[in-house]
């Protein structure tokens, strides 16, 4: 991702939110903002989220893409927010065996990666409460 592209997306990256379909009521992850996957409506509105969530599944990455090299192994989890949104996220660095299904996690803004020219990218991660 180029710096200018991140600049376009930064406000979204730094505020946890989803998109709710005004026709069927389903809440979608932030990237599903054009069309409701349930009813195909385009009547979606942005909705800020509290940041509280439960871990429903998780796994660890041992062979990461270039921009994450050196961070492995790191945790990724499927979480369900208290608003009912099922999404996925990086978990803030912790021992792999410290996370359990059912744990409560809270969103936080953290550095996500360092770009090829040393630029820093920030975004939302989740941390165990």
């Amino acid at each position: 991702m180029s710096v200018i592209e991140y600049r376009r997306m930064a406000l979204d990256k730094l505020h946890l939110h989803g998109y709710r379909c005004k026709d069927c009521g389903v809440l979608h992850p932030s990237w599903e903002k054009y069309t409701c996957g349930e009813c195909r409506s385009s009547n979606l509105v942005r909705e800020d989220l509290s940041g509280k969530a439960k871990v429903t599944h998780f796994g660890a990455v041992y062979y990461p893409p270039t921009e994450f090299k050196g961070e492995e192994p790191y945790l990724l989890a499927e979480i369900v927010t208290e608003e009912g949104l099922r999404t996925s996220s990086r978990i803030v660095k912790m021992p792999l065996d410290a996370l359990k299904v059912g744990d409560t996690v809270q969103s936080t803004i953290r550095r996500v990666k360092i770009g090829p020219e040393g630029e820093l990218y920030y975004g939302v991660k989740f941390d165990k409460v």
Binding site: H57, L76, E78
Partner: protein, 388 residues
């Protein structure tokens, strides 16, 4: 609606880390082999369809169909490139099928190819991750293996299977891959060795994850009249189905992955007028062990949630109830992204013709190939029949 598309010729390179061969070397080799097998020359080909998933990322090359068409002597015949992530090869054949069934073309050369070994593993992982939404869902460090690992964990939690149960998929695929002279990873392993191999993305171990691969494979497809007039074994594509799924896989539920295959495969069965119980040989996309399990369940070979038992009990071996991935599958044969779908077609057709170079299934009549791809975004299925 029934269809009959002849498979007149097949060609394939070895799968592996082939440092001395470029992408064009591989695709020209496979294309020439397929034309030679079909008994045709470049002048007999009406259309070239090239399947390649990521030459821009892996090889800094673009406009690949024109390049390969030129090198094969196909100018001024039309050519086009197809890209659908790991489903690229299957989709490339679909374009050929559409052209033949419409009557617009009589013979079409389809070549799938990928050259992945010229970049390091982390760069390759990055290129592959660009087939998902690298700016949104994958922004934070997701990879294809980690997305699949998530639904492997869901499957285990829901149906009570274990890592050892899933390891049987790798054991079987490596058993057959070791006997396939074209396969990349030609070694056998035990369940214990699979479980001892390091995690790539927990709960998936290294031996349950496909390698990056250099290879190309090709088929010459033709209309029924040309096929009948040839002296080749009469192997036809008699049914096909293509479907799409969500572009975002980390939150896909098991039903999303099952349904991605179920819709197209049922459509292919219906078109061909066959039932799952009639299939004698199947190649099912299995870049990760869990995908073979979900794929065979969706194809109707085992009830939903019980596919792992079918594999563990040996029913998917070459002499079992439903032979699956006797080539070694993507896990052992290798996963040259754009060539995987065409490689499946070549392997099934060669089994039906009796000239597959590895372990042969005894006298098969009906075949099936399932080529899924992307995060969970595409699936292309074909049913084949050998006729008298």
């Amino acid at each position: 609606m029934g269809i009959k598309i002849g498979v007149l010729g097949t060609g394939k390179t070895k799968h592996g880390i082939l440092y001395d061969k470029s992408l064009r070397d591989l695709m020209v080799e496979a294309g020439r082999k397929a034309m030679q097998d079909a008994g045709l020359g470049p002048e007999d080909i009406d259309l070239l369809v090239v399947g390649n998933a990521a030459s821009i990322g892996f090889n800094s090359e673009n406009n690949l169909a024109a390049m390969i068409g030129d090198h094969l002597g196909l100018v001024p015949k039309p050519n086009v490139r197809c890209e659908a992530a790991c489903g690229t090869g299957g989709w490339a054949a679909q374009i050929a099928a559409m052209g033949i069934l419409s009557g617009l073309y009589k013979t079409v050369l389809v070549i799938g190819g990928e050259k992945m070994s010229d970049v390091t593993t982390d760069v390759g992982t990055t290129v592959i991750a660009q087939a998902a939404d690298a700016k949104e869902e994958y922004f934070g460090g997701h990879t294809f293996p980690s997305g699949v690992a998530m639904y492997a964990a869901r499957y285990m939690a829901r149906f009570g299977s274990t890592e050892a149960d899933m390891a049987h998929v790798a054991v079987k695929n490596h058993y057959y891959g070791a006997r396939n002279p074209d396969a990349q990873l030609r070694f056998e392993c035990t369940v214990e060795e699979v479980l001892k191999s390091p995690y790539v993305a927990k709960p998936l171990h290294l031996f349950e994850v496909c390698p990056m691969t250099d290879a190309a494979s090709a088929v010459v497809l033709c209309n029924e009249d040309i096929m009948k007039a040839s002296n080749k074994p009469q192997v036809y594509i008699t049914g096909t189905g293509v479907g799409s799924g969500t572009f975002y896989n980390t939150c896909d539920q098991l039903e999303d992955n099952w349904g991605l295959v179920k819709g197209p495969v049922d459509k292919a069965y219906e078109m061909a007028g066959v039932k799952p119980s009639q299939i004698n040989i199947a190649e099912i996309y299995n870049a990760f062990s869990i995908q073979e399990i979900l794929g065979l369940e969706a194809a109707g070979f085992a009830p939903y949630g019980e596919g792992w038992k079918l594999v563990a009990e040996g029913h998917t071996h070459h002499d079992g109830r439903i032979p699956i991935n006797i080539s070694g599958g993507v896990l052992s044969k290798g996963h040259p992204l754009g060539a995987t779908g065409t490689s499946e077609i070549v392997d099934v057709v060669q089994q039906l013709r009796g000239d597959f170079p590895g372990v042969k299934v005894k006298d098969p009549e009906f075949g099936l190939s399932i080529n899924r791809g992307g995060p969970g975004s595409v699936c292309v299925c074909y049913v084949y029949q050998r006729m008298a």
